[in-house]
């Protein structure tokens, strides 16, 4: 079983969210998800300043095996994207919860975080798969 950091929030569609003190949310996909997809070859990210809504398909992770849509787990404005992934998509495989982060969002409504799973809840959701 992959290690799931306890401070993160999760969507059932395998995205994670880490919120810092300034109300900026960093978004990635879980280690479990990268394991299912296999070696990453391309990552398509939203543009900075894009306005995104929770549930929108805003990014694509394409592995040797399949292309997978990534959904915005929260609503807000994109303030940064992980440009390292352009040349090193394998960071999603090697460090899904760290260097493999996808983009950062300035939250519209911090209350939306309540809709996400905690680490324990996410672990239970993938154990049922």
């Amino acid at each position: 079983m992959s290690n799931i950091p306890s401070e993160l929030k999760f969507a059932t569609s395998h995205e994670w969210v880490r919120v810092d003190a300034d109300g900026i949310a960093t978004v990635g996909i879980s280690d479990h998800a990268q394991g299912l997809l296999g070696d990453m070859v391309f990552v398509e990210l939203p543009d900075v300043d894009d306005s995104i809504s929770a549930g929108d398909d805003v990014a694509v992770a394409e592995s040797v095996k399949a292309a997978s849509d990534i959904y915005a787990p929260v609503s807000g404005t994109v303030v940064a994207i992980n440009e390292e992934l352009e040349d090193a998509p394998e960071l999603l495989n090697s460090d899904a919860f760290g260097e493999g982060w996808l983009f950062q969002v300035k939250l519209d409504d911090a209350g939306e975080l309540e809709n996400l799973l905690d680490a324990e809840g996410y672990k239970n959701s993938i154990d049922e798969d």
């Binding site: 391309f42 292309a67 394998e90």
Partner: protein, 362 residues
């Protein structure tokens, strides 16, 4: 009931991620299929292909039987050990399977056929054998390994006896020889130098371990697929099946039309198809921008639509390549379009071969 090869425990010991492959529990990768792919292109990797089916065809009529059964002509094989690649067709001219035939003598041949088609292949061969004085014998007591890559032969040599080393010295591509316990063949499915080796089940694990100790990288079905696709080699079930003519699957080169009186199964259908010139053809596609071509995506051309039969990301080239079945009028060098994720993307048409011996070939 899931089948396990004789090397199953070795895969688990190497941390393989296992998947079901047509009833066999097989390694898809041992961590990273891209790293495994690069190992084969630059050094040496090995694959467990023990799930494939070894069938010996022997007897007074073995030669006559195979001249009827397959589209290539085993009468061309004159040197003991020489192999050929070919297809076995149904009466409608569709491909039942592709296979390799090793020639030992006019009364002794070894066939290696796909695992997913094992049952129907054996049934078809048995049915067609009526009236021929032959025996058809499956050989499950053997495992099979493919050791492939520019350093593969040198690494295998360290495990061989003096007698085996002499026997394989300077052996040309597409030959096989039985020496001692091993059947060693200069065949493969990667576009690299190397061997396919048939080994008794009792010594397979030991042989695998010794190759590991020599630094040969274990590779799963994931890397096997990207390597064969870069090399432009067909995968049965994707690039062709029983509904597809060999003329539409880049297998025309495996048909022996001469002598004209050899009555192989499907000959009349192929002759008519060839005269009509209306079969689609299998070409290569290259996408140098972002995105990955995938099986079953629709190909749009001015001559009508086609379909991608196999597509992947090419780790060697750093972009996507595919095999596609398209109307015959499409030419190498043309730019055509593929429908990907609801958009039409331009791709280049190439010959259906992308990488050989580590180098780009289109």
């Amino acid at each position: 009931m899931t089948n396990k090869t004789v090397l199953h425990a070795k895969h688990l010991a190497s941390g393989a991620k296992m998947v079901d492959f047509f009833g066999w529990d097989m390694p898809i990768n041992y961590g990273s299929q891209i790293e495994e792919h690069h190992a084969v292109r630059t050094d040496a990797g090995m694959f467990d292909v023990s799930h494939m089916t070894i069938v010996d065809v022997q007897g007074a009529d073995a030669k006559a039987f195979l001249r009827r059964l397959v589209i290539n002509d085993v009468a061309k094989l004159a040197t003991a050990g020489k192999a050929l690649y070919t297809g076995m067709l149904n009466e409608e001219g569709g491909v039942i399977d592709d296979l390799i035939i090793y020639f030992f003598s006019d009364t002794d041949y070894r066939l290696v056929v796909n695992s997913a088609t094992r049952v129907k292949d054996l049934a078809w061969m048995t049915k067609q054998s009526t009236g021929f004085d032959i025996t058809i014998t499956e050989r499950p007591e053997f495992g099979m390994l493919a050791v492939q890559g520019p350093e593969a032969k040198a690494k295998v040599a360290k495990l061989l006896t003096a007698e085996q080393i002499v026997a394989v010295e300077g052996m040309k591509p597409f030959f096989g020889v039985q020496v001692g316990d091993l059947f060693i063949a200069t065949t493969g499915y990667t576009g690299e130098d190397g061997y396919e080796i048939i080994v008794p089940n009792s010594s397979a694990e030991d042989f695998w371990q010794k190759l590991l100790d020599e630094g040969v990288v274990p590779c799963g079905l994931g890397a096997r697929d990207t390597l064969r696709l870069e090399a432009g080699m067909n995968l049965y079930g994707l690039d062709m099946d029983e509904t597809v003519s060999p003329l539409a699957a880049n297998m025309a080169w495996t048909i022996s039309w001469d002598p004209t009186d050899r009555d192989f199964i499907g000959r009349d259908v192929l002759t008519a198809q060839k005269a009509a010139g209306d079969q689609p053809k299998l070409v290569g596609l290259v996408l140098e921008e972002k995105g990955v071509l995938r099986s079953h995506q629709v190909v749009v051309t001015e001559f009508g639509n086609g379909e991608i039969t196999s597509g992947t990301f090419s780790p060697t080239l750093g972009h996507s390549v595919a095999l596609a079945r398209v109307p015959r009028s499409v030419k190498v060098g043309d730019t055509i379009e593929v429908e990907m994720r609801k958009k039409l993307i331009k791709v280049q048409v190439t010959k259906p071969s992308f990488v050989r011996n580590g180098k780009k070939v289109f």
